[in-house]
C-alpha cells in the first residue's frame, strides 16, 4: 500500500488501483485513479491483460481458420464479428451470397445485438447496485442463446457464418422461437421501464453523469451507441448499408446530451429497433440456397486490400485485410469500437466521484478482450 501513496506537491491526492480484479471492470481492466477524497483527479486506464495477438494469428492462418477467432475478440457479439469477417473476405474474394443467407445473417446478427445489449443492461444495473434486473436480463438473453444455439450449435462463439453463406439452414422451429421471443420482449420492455428506466434512483445516478460531448467523441473516435447518445445518427447499418439492411424500416435512436442516461436510453431503444428489424426480416425471409456452391476449400483472394466496416453492438468495427494472393491475409487489422470508447474516459473521468466512475464505465459498455485482441 505504502508505495502507492503518492505525494506530488499535493498531499491530498492518493492513488487507488481500480482493478484488474474488481467487480465492475468487466474483463480485466485496470484503472489507476488519483483521488482527492472521493473525487477523481486523474484516470489512467491500463489495458492489455487479455492480449492474445489475434492480428498475428490472423496473418498466420488461412481465412477460414481465422473465422473462429473473430467471435472470441468480442465474445458478447460473436455473431456480429463473424458476420463482419465473412463480409470482408467475401468482398476481397468477390463471393456472392444467396439472398436467404443474407436474411438469416441479419436475423442472427440482430439477435446477437439484442443479447449483447441485454447483457450490458443487466451488468450496468449490477454496477449501479441493482441485482435483480441483471437476472431478468439474463433470463431474456437465455432465450436468444437458445435460439442461436439451435441454429449454430453454440451459445457464445458461434462461428455460424461461412464465406458465401451460413453453415446451417434455419427451420420453422427457429422462426417460431424467434417470433415467440419478439412477442415475449414486448411485455418485458414495459417491465424494464417500470423497474429501471423510470426509477428515480436510477435517473439520479445517470443523468448528467459522464457527459461525452460531440467534440470529445469525435476527437477520440467514439462510435456506436455512445456516439449516438451525443445526438448524431451515425450507424454503419445506415451510412454504408451492408447485406440487406437498406431494405428494412428502422430508426436510429439518438440522445441529446451524451450523458449516461442518454447512452442507456439509446441502447434500450436500439434493442427495440433490432426487434423491428428481425420482425421484418422474418416476414420477408426468402426461400432458396443458404450457401454459394462454388467456394473453394482453400480460399485465395486476389492481391489487394479491403476495409470493411460493420456495426457491432459497441459501434463501428472494421476488418482491414491485405491479401498477397495466398490463402491467408498478409495483414489483418481489426478496428475495435471499445478502443476509442475506453480512450475517451481519460478525459471524462477526472472530476467525477468514484461511484460515478463506475456508472460511467458501465454506461460506455466496454468489452475489454475486444480492446486487447
Amino acid at each position: 500500500m505504502d508505495e502507492l501513496e503518492k505525494i506530488e506537491g499535493n498531499e491530498r491526492v492518493y492513488s487507488l488501483n481500480l482493478g484488474p480484479q474488481h467487480p465492475s471492470t468487466h474483463g480485466v481492466l485496470r484503472i489507476l485513479l488519483d483521488l482527492d477524497g472521493e473525487y477523481i483527479v486523474k484516470a489512467d486506464p491500463v489495458i492489455g491483460y487479455g492480449h492474445r495477438g489475434h492480428e498475428k494469428m490472423g496473418e498466420n492462418r488461412q481465412y477460414k481458420q481465422f473465422l473462429p477467432n473473430t467471435s472470441r475478440m468480442d465474445y458478447l457479439s460473436g455473431m456480429l464479428y463473424n458476420h463482419g469477417f465473412v463480409l470482408a473476405v467475401e468482398k476481397l474474394a468477390g463471393i456472392k451470397v444467396p439472398e436467404r443467407a443474407k436474411y438469416i445473417r441479419v436475423i442472427a446478427s440482430e439477435l446477437n445485438r439484442i443479447s449483447s445489449h441485454l447483457l450490458w443492461f443487466g451488468t450496468y444495473l449490477l454496477d449501479l447496485g441493482g441485482i435483480t434486473p441483471f437476472l431478468y436480463a439474463f433470463d431474456d438473453r437465455e432465450q436468444i442463446l437458445d435460439i442461436l444455439d439451435a441454429i449454430s450449435g453454440s451459445r457464445l462463439t458461434y462461428s455460424y457464418c461461412r464465406f458465401g453463406g451460413v453453415s446451417r439452414d434455419v427451420d420453422m422451429k427457429f422462426i417460431e422461437m424467434t417470433r415467440a421471443f419478439l412477442k415475449r420482449m414486448e411485455a418485458r420492455w414495459v417491465d424494464y421501464e417500470d423497474l429501471v428506466t423510470k426509477n428515480v434512483i436510477f435517473i439520479h445516478r445517470t443523468r448528467d453523469v459522464g457527459v461525452i460531448s460531440l467534440e470529445l467523441a469525435r476527437q477520440y473516435g467514439v462510435t456506436g451507441p455512445n456516439l449516438r447518445a451525443c445526438g448524431v445518427a451515425f450507424d454503419v447499418r445506415r451510412s454504408e448499408p451492408y447485406e440487406v439492411y437498406d431494405r428494412f424500416d428502422f430508426e436510429i435512436p439518438t440522445g441529446s446530451k451524451g450523458d449516461a442516461l442518454d447512452r442507456y436510453v439509446v441502447r434500450f431503444r436500439e434493442m427495440q429497433q433490432s426487434c423491428r428489424i428481425i420482425d421484418q426480416a422474418l416476414e420477408h425471409l426468402p426461400e432458396g440456397e443458404i450457401m454459394t456452391p462454388k467456394v473453394p476449400q482453400k480460399l485465395s483472394p486476389p492481391k489487394g486490400e479491403v476495409y470493411t466496416a460493420f456495426e457491432s453492438a459497441r459501434g463501428l468495427t472494421a476488418y482491414y485485410l491485405v491479401s498477397d494472393g495466398s490463402p491467408g491475409p498478409y495483414r489483418c487489422h481489426i478496428r475495435v469500437p471499445s478502443f476509442g470508447n475506453l480512450n475517451v474516459l481519460n478525459d471524462v473521468l477526472p472530476g467525477t466521484l468514484v461511484a460515478d466512475a463506475i456508472a460511467i464505465l458501465g454506461s460506455v459498455d466496454l468489452v475489454i478482450p475486444e480492446i486487447d485482441r
Binding site: I47, G48, H51, G53, E55, K56, E59, N60, K91, A217, R218, Q219, Y220, G221, L227, V232, F234, R238, S239, E240, K303, G304, E305, V306, Y307, T308, A309, L316, A318, Y320, V322, S323, D324, S326, G328, Y330, R331, H333, R335, F339, G340, N343, V344, D347, I371, D372, R373
Partner: protein, 156 residues
C-alpha cells in the same frame, strides 16, 4: 458532402501525391491518398478542420518499408478516406496526437506492434504488451511468419 470538399483540398495541398478513387466500393474507402511522411500532420489538420474523426491507424510491414495507413471518417454516409504514407524501417513519423486526441493510444498500439516511434507523442509506453516488452510482434521478423514481401508485390 464533406468527403468531396476534403478531396479537393487534399488535391490542392498535395498536388504531387497520387489520389486513388475507388468508385466500385471494393476496398471500403472512397479514396486514398499517399502523402509524404512530412505531410501527415497537414493532412490530419485538414481532416480535423472538416469535422472528420480518426477511425484507425495501422501499419503494414514490408521488406523494404513500413506503410502507415490512417482511416478517417465523418458522420455522413459513405465518407471514409484513407491517408497512406511510406515510412522507412528506421524513420520516425510525426505524431498527430495533438490534432486527434484519440491518436495517442492508436499510435501507442502501432508502436507496440511495429516498433514505430512517433515524434511528438510523449506517452510511448507499451499499451497492450507488457510494460517491459522489447519485441514488436506484428513485424514480419517476429515469430511465425507466412510471407515477407516487398511492397510492390502486393500493390504493384
Amino acid at each position: 458532402m464533406k468527403i468531396n470538399d476534403i478531396e479537393a483540398r487534399m488535391h490542392s495541398k498535395f498536388p504531387e501525391s497520387p489520389l486513388n478513387r475507388d468508385d466500385t466500393g471494393g476496398t471500403g474507402v472512397q479514396w486514398s491518398i499517399a502523402v509524404p511522411i512530412s505531410g501527415i500532420r497537414d493532412a490530419a489538420t485538414e481532416f480535423d478542420a472538416a469535422g472528420f474523426f480518426l477511425e484507425s491507424i495501422t501499419a503494414l510491414d514490408f521488406e523494404d518499408t513500413f506503410e502507415l495507413v490512417y482511416h478517417f471518417n465523418c458522420y455522413e454516409p459513405g465518407s471514409r478516406a484513407s491517408v497512406r504514407m511510406l515510412c522507412g524501417h528506421d524513420e520516425v513519423p510525426p505524431s498527430i496526437c495533438d490534432i486527434f486526441r484519440g491518436a495517442v493510444w492508436l499510435e501507442r498500439e502501432v508502436h507496440d506492434f511495429f516498433g514505430i516511434k512517433f515524434s511528438g507523442n510523449a506517452d510511448m509506453r507499451p499499451l497492450l504488451l507488457p510494460e517491459d516488452a522489447d519485441y514488436h510482434p506484428l513485424r514480419k521478423t517476429f515469430g511465425k511468419v507466412g510471407a515477407y514481401h516487398k511492397r510492390e508485390v502486393i500493390y504493384g
